[in-house]
């Protein structure tokens, strides 16, 4: 399968990159890992005259230091997350990075590309939603920040403006005070787009028993990754454990808006939401206790 022809630029810094994008308007596309863009160009789903390779823009690979509020540059790869995000206290994101696609895809696929592609099943999107992350965008007229929830507006749709570049994803400053986990179900165990996924984050009170705060995000069961608010409500203020987790899992299943397709029925997906949510909560809670200790 051949790529259509296009021009190529590799800017060396952000202002050069923004300048190139502004000049070319909707004829230009930023290139990160290429695992979506090059596929879509080959399939004719995307057309463009100019590809602007972001690889030379060093600040897109920045990571905040330990102890600082977490900030992850848009060009960090899924493979990087799988190895490093755990050390930053973001295990859910590490798990999501570790099950995205294949090893080859993980070595290329980036955070920014996953967010901008905005698939309902986007593994990093779902994990970042559970961490209450914000995206930082830069454009010709300056910078702005949006919660992931507002950034992703529909299947394949985002709030990014033409010419803008996604600089970084910033999990909530308090995210590392809790524990997170990611569960993904496919028809096979690896190299699979999620049939259902669940990303959760929980924080413990100082007593090591009571849930202080929680977020539950679901992938592939709606037009965008969904935040199951009722599932969080079922947890907060209650003692962590089988009962609370079962209630949250039930609430998550009710919040899901799955569809029937050739890969699985809506009913199966809904039931699996409950299973994955419960499993993720069990793991996230033990991590939350470590974070509290």
């Amino acid at each position: 399968m051949l790529l259509p022809r296009f021009d190529y630029q590799r800017p060396r810094d952000l202002s050069e990159a923004l300048g190139l994008l502004a000049q070319a308007g909707d004829q230009a596309r930023p290139l990160a890992g290429g695992t979506d863009l090059l596929v879509n160009l080959k399939l004719g789903k995307v057309t463009c005259r100019l590809v602007v390779d972001l690889d030379g823009v060093a600040e897109l690979k920045d990571v905040s230091g330990p102890g600082e509020a977490p900030s992850l540059g848009a060009l960090l790869s899924a493979a990087w997350l799988a190895k490093q995000a755990g050390g930053l206290g973001l295990m859910g994101l590490a798990e999501a990075g570790g099950v995205l696609g294949s090893p080859q895809v993980r070595n290329r696929a980036t955070i920014g590309g996953n967010l901008c592609t905005a698939r309902p099943a986007g593994d990093l999107c779902t994990a970042l939603l559970a961490l209450d992350a914000r995206v930082v965008l830069a454009g010709a007229s300056g910078r702005r920040e949006l919660p992931v929830e507002q950034f992703i507006t529909g299947p394949g749709l985002t709030a990014i403006a033409p010419g803008e570049i996604l600089l970084a994803a910033r999990p909530a400053p308090g995210a590392t005070a809790g524990g997170s986990a990611f569960e993904k179900l496919g028809l096979r165990r690896t190299m699979e787009i999620a049939l259902v996924s669940a990303a959760v984050w929980v924080q413990s009170e100082a007593d090591g028993r009571t849930v202080k705060a929680a977020r539950v995000a679901l992938g592939a069961v709606g037009p965008t990754p969904l935040l199951a608010r009722a599932a969080a409500t079922a947890l907060v203020g209650r003692p962590a454990g089988t009962e609370a987790f079962a209630a949250a899992a039930q609430a998550a299943a009710e919040a899901a808006r799955p569809i029937d397709d050739h890969r699985g029925s809506a009913e199966y997906r809904r039931q699996m939401v409950a299973v994955l949510t419960r499993r993720a909560l069990e793991r996230a809670w033990s991590r939350a206790l470590e974070a509290t200790a």
């Binding site: 399968m1 051949l2 790529l3 259509p4 022809r5 296009f6 021009d7 190529y8 590799r10 290139l31 290429g34 695992t35 090059l38 596929v39 080959k42 399939l43 590809v51 390779d53 690889d55 493979a79 696609g101 294949s102 090893p103 080859q104 895809v105 070595n107 290329r108 690896t190 190299m191």
Partner: protein, 162 residues
Amino acid sequence: MNKLALTLNVNGQDYDLLCEPSRTLAQALREDLGLTGTKVGCGVGDCGACTVLVDGQTVNSCLVLATQAAGKAIVTIEGLADGPKLHPIQEAFVEHGAIQCGFCSPGMILSAKALLDANPAPSELEIRQGLSGNLCRCTGYQKIVQAVDSAARTLRGERTVG
């Protein structure tokens, strides 16, 4: 479209070429450099036949532009053997009958190399996960998994190949 002048370092040797920006690394390796050991199957990241190493990491060369690999160390299947002496992973594939038609083998072997470089003693599950981006339509995978396990033991010095 302006052509790009670039230098690809493949298997330790520099190659200068002039190519369209839209040329993939797989095309450049096969068609410009004549290194046809790298195969192209699906062209969209699903099959792994086009797997090569770039700075030690596996990539699908059908989804990397040639220009994105300029200045990096690229290793293809042609770079694995030491003259006539096959790499232990290649030896193990031959020994275990892990090659039938051979179309998946170059990519499979490079994925195995990256896996064993990072994890010299993988479990069976880790081997299967490490090879999960490489499809094989012939062998049923079992012999490939055995070959990688056996190569791992050879590379750890636990057994010698006859």
